[in-house]
């Protein structure tokens, strides 16, 4: 490719050199016309043809450059500028030289031809003619004399007479024509000329009419001759006369001079005549040389410009490609000059860029892989994980977190914790629990937080840690939490079960012997004591037996509380249950008023009917016990649907008009053996809480402003729940 281009260029230069050489040959006008004439015209045509080809090549190249400029191809404007500069540099001096050459040529050639010279030549020619004329007159006179002498000579003796005349006059040739223009006799001094040099037919005709013809005539072999033709006056014959022609040689010296003048004159006039064509020829040749040279230079300028610009154009294209992110571009290095070095540097640069980019991509892929690995790990974790940045905005959250909290948190990424809590009050307790730690910036902390989510009450074990800043990621916090509700419940149940077992073993077992022993004492001793003693004995024994019985009952009750019955959940309406239980109490409620305030649209609840029944019993009994002896005793059982934080709950409240709950008990109200009453096992509300927790509900107590207390129970509703907690998946 490159070699072919170089070859083509070399061939073009060679052709150019040949043409210039040919024009050089052409310009040498002194050549023999006969030998070079054809060659000359051929060379002119060849040059014109080459001019056409060259012109075509230039137009083509200009067209290509122009098209590139129009397309705004890189480097095209530079090419155009270089071409213009080159063309200007070539054509201006060449044109100037051409103009001067033509001007000087015209003036120069014209000055060669001088009017005085021409006039002088004409005069000398005239002088020659005058000199010859003098001689001619003499010859005419002599010839007329000869014709007189021939008048009486008959045709038969004419040859002899002519021979004599030739010798006498020194003529070259003497010929006598008959009336019919036929040669009668002829005599010549040269031996080789056998045929007489005849005059033209018109000459003979004019002479026959009686006139004399005399003319100077040039001959090839014998030089200048005077041809004198005269009629021969015949006295004997009438009619057309005979004719005598005599050729006289012009005297030697005169001939020489006259011919010299003639030759000089002829050469001069020919040259003078030829000067215009000569000028035109020279100008034509000069124009051709100029055109060939200029067009070749223009072509070479365009060629060289494009060749020079090519690497720059490639560089520009390469730079564009690199700017567009194409680093694989390699430019051909074809030169050993600065441009070549530039291309080389460019190639090195792109190579390095490509390498750097590859490295960056590799490391990014690595990071990506690690990230996705961590992500996978995080998502597979059963513990909920949330991380926050310095402003407590959520940064990451895993699926388990959403599952435990019952809230899809992915869409809250980047939102601040408080904002999320506002939108999801279910998280409020969590936020309240952990925000303090996060804000304090403690390095590590643990906290147990109770939340009431859409799936019920949950105990979360939260562990937090401060994250150090790395790279451009600001420092933040990570919170890991586990749902320990079931675990804690199981622990508590296990503890109470152990207490119950101990009680049964340590307390209940001795009770029977105590009772039996008391009864035996009464039986054995009642006969041996007096009436008063018998009465004391009997009362004490009864007391022992009664207390033992009550103790047994207490232990049994506690056993019941601690025992973990299996809860059988089924969908049910709490209203029905409330009505059932209320019906039972209405019969033997005494003076207490039992009022029901039920929401008829109450949602269903997954619950164990037996346990709920016990719950209601405990609550109503608890309320009645609290109002014992009060006049306006009134119990209100209320059910309500509650919508909170996008989840539905069923609320059950039991209010009384009793003295209310002492503030001191408020915190521990639902723990076993915490009671303000003298009666009862002290397990009533503890069992209530147990049952509520078994159903994933929440229970709390409050004192009413107008006296009395209210136990508030909240169960998660099921019927309206379109989502089961397990369906909540991080998006």
């Amino acid at each position: 490719m490159k070699r072919a281009a170089t070859l083509r260029f070399a061939v073009t230069v060679g052709v150019f050199a040949l043409l210039i050489a040919s024009l050089y040959v052409v310009s040498d006008v002194s050549h023999d016309a006969e030998r070079f004439g054809r060659l000359y015209v051929g060379l002119l045509l060849l040059n014109t043809l080459f001019l056409l080809v060259l012109g075509f090549a230039i137009v083509k190249n200009l067209y290509l450059v122009g098209r590139q400029v129009v397309r705004k191809a890189p480097g095209s404007r530079l090419t155009l500028r270089m071409v213009l500069v080159f063309v200007l540099l070539v054509t201006v001096p060449a044109g100037t030289v051409y103009e001067f050459s033509v001007h000087m040529l015209k003036k120069g050639i014209d000055t060669w031809f001088d009017i005085p010279v021409q006039e002088a030549l004409e005069d000398s020619l005239e002088l020659s003619r005058a000199a010859l004329d003098l001689q001619m007159r003499e010859f005419r006179r002599r010839t007329l004399a000869l014709s007189e002498s021939l008048a009486d000579v008959s045709d038969a003796v004419a040859p002899l007479a002519l021979n004599d005349m030739l010798k006498a006059t020194g003529a070259t040739e003497i010929t006598l024509f008959g009336a019919d223009n036929k040669i009668i006799a002829s005599s010549s001094n040269s031996t080789d000329a056998m045929i007489p040099r005849l005059p033209g037919a018109q000459v003979l005709n004019t002479v026959a009419e009686g006139r004399v013809y005399s003319r100077l005539e040039p001959f090839q072999d014998i030089g200048l001759q005077m041809r004198i033709v005269v009629p021969v006056r015949d006295r004997s014959t009438r009619g057309r006369p005979r004719i005598l022609q005599v050729l006289y040689p012009v005297s030697g010296r005169l001939t020489e001079l006259a011919e010299k003048v003639e030759a000089a004159y002829r050469d001069y006039t020919e040259l003078a005549y030829l000067r215009e064509p000569l000028k035109q020829n020279i100008i034509l040749t000069l124009s051709l040389v100029l055109l060939v040279a200029a067009l070749f230079a223009v072509w070479a300028a365009i060629y060289m410009s494009r060749k020079l610009i090519a690497p720059i154009r490639e560089l520009a294209e390469g730079t564009k490609a690199v700017a567009a992110g194409e680093y694989r571009k390699k430019l051909p290095v074809g030169r050993r000059d600065e441009l070549g070095e530039l291309v080389l540097s460019f190639n090195q640069m792109t190579e390095r860029l490509a390498r750097a980019r590859d490295a960056a991509e590799r490391s990014q892929r690595l990071v990506e892989r690690q990230r996705s690995y961590l992500e996978t790990l995080l998502q597979r974790l059963s513990s909920g994980v949330m991380s926050f940045d310095g402003q407590l905005a959520l940064r990451t959250v895993n699926a388990a977190a959403a599952h435990i909290l019952g809230v899809s948190l992915v869409q809250y990424k980047g939102r601040r914790l408080e904002e999320i809590a506002r939108e999801h009050p279910a998280l409020e307790s969590l936020v309240r629990g952990i925000a303090g730690y996060l804000k304090s910036g403690k390095k590590e902390w643990r906290e147990q937080v109770v939340i009431m989510g859409p799936t019920g009450r949950k105990i979360l074990m939260c562990r937090g840690a401060r994250l150090p800043a790395y790279g451009d990621v600001s420092p933040g916090y990570v919170v890991v939490f586990d749902d320990v509700t079931a675990l804690i419940q199981a622990q508590r149940e296990a503890a109470w079960a152990e207490v119950a077992r101990r009680l049964a073993h340590e307390i209940k077992n001795p009770l029977t012997p105590i009772q039996l022993s008391a009864e035996r004492i009464q039986r054995k001793l009642s006969a041996s004591v007096d009436e008063k003693g018998a009465e004391i004995l009997e009362r004490s024994t009864r007391t022992i037996v009664q207390q033992v019985e009550s103790m047994k009952a207490m232990v049994n009750a506690f056993g019941d509380y601690a025992r973990t019955p299996s809860v059988e959940l089924s969908l049910m309406n709490i209203n029905d249950l409330v009505r059932d239980v209320a019906e039972l109490y209405r019969a033997n409620i005494g003076e207490v008023r039992l009022e029901l305030d039920l929401d008829e649209t109450l949602a269903g609840v997954q619950a164990d009917a037996m346990r709920l029944r016990q719950l209601l019993h405990n609550l109503i009994k608890n309320a009645m016990e609290a109002m014992e002896g009060r006049s306006d005793a009134r119990i209100v059982v209320q059910t309500r649907n509650v919508d909170e934080h996008g989840a539905r709950y069923v609320d059950l409240t039991v209010s009384d008009t009793g003295p209310g709950i002492p503030e001191a008990l408020m915190d521990r109200l639902f723990e076993p053996y915490v009671t303000s009453k003298s009666k009862g096992t002290g397990l009533g509300l503890a069992i209530v809480r147990k049952i509520v927790e078994e159903h994933g509900g929440q229970v709390w107590a409050e004192n009413l402003p107008r006296g009395g207390a209210r136990i508030h129970i909240r169960f998660p509703a099921t019927t309206t729940q379109t989502q089961s907690p397990h369906d909540i998946q991080p998006r």
Partner: protein, 193 residues
């Protein structure tokens, strides 16, 4: 392959060159000098075909001026016997060229006609006589009758023209390019009986 636009772009260049050349050598509106073959007859004299012809040879102004300025002119009288063929170029049986050199002798004011084939030179006072001499063929022997197939048809072609190549060197380009220098009777064709 070139785009049409590029091909078209050559035209102005051709035009320019054409204008340049025509500017150097203006082409007059008149045609050539009007030289024409007046008549030509072929007859047999014994076993020989001979030609009698008269050609009206007329000089253009340029040629006349050149002649009077001392430039010799060479005329070529071309004769050829051809046998026409169908679907094929004519077969040339014989060709005969007669060359005449016409010059002006300023001293004697004579026109010289030199028959270049023989070297014989004749002198004429008047140009028309000299031209008449060149254009006159009297019993010019053409070819021996035995050389021609009697059953075939032959044609004699005849023309006279100025030999541009024998002009002086500076006149040659003009001679080739300009109609001022075209002196040509054109081919005259007569059958040979």
């Amino acid at each position: 392959m070139l785009k049409p636009s590029a091909r078209l772009a050559v035209l102005p260049l051709v035009f320019l060159i054409g204008v340049g050349l025509s500017g150097l050598y203006p082409v007059p509106a008149v045609a050539d000098s009007g030289s024409i073959v007046r008549y030509a007859r072929v007859k047999t004299v014994g076993d020989l075909y001979v030609l009698n012809a008269s050609i009206n040879l007329v000089l253009t102004d340029a040629a006349r001026n050149a002649l009077l300025s001392g430039v010799p002119l060479v005329f070529e009288l071309e004769m050829a016997i051809v046998r026409p063929r169908k679907w094929w170029p004519d077969e040339q049986v014989a060709d005969m060229d007669q060359k005449f050199r016409l010059s002006y002798h300023a001293l004697s004011r004579q026109f010289l006609v030199q028959h270049l084939n023989t070297g014989i030179q004749e002198t004429y006072s008047r140009l028309v006589d000299a031209l008449e001499r060149i254009g006159e063929l009297k019993d010019f022997p053409l070819i021996d009758a035995t050389l021609l197939d009697p059953g075939r048809h032959y044609i004699l072609e005849l023309r006279v023209r100025l030999d541009i190549e024998r002009l002086p060197f500076p006149l040659m380009v003009q001679g080739y390019l300009s109609r001022d220098w075209r002196i040509d009777s054109g081919w005259y064709r007569i059958p040979i009986q």
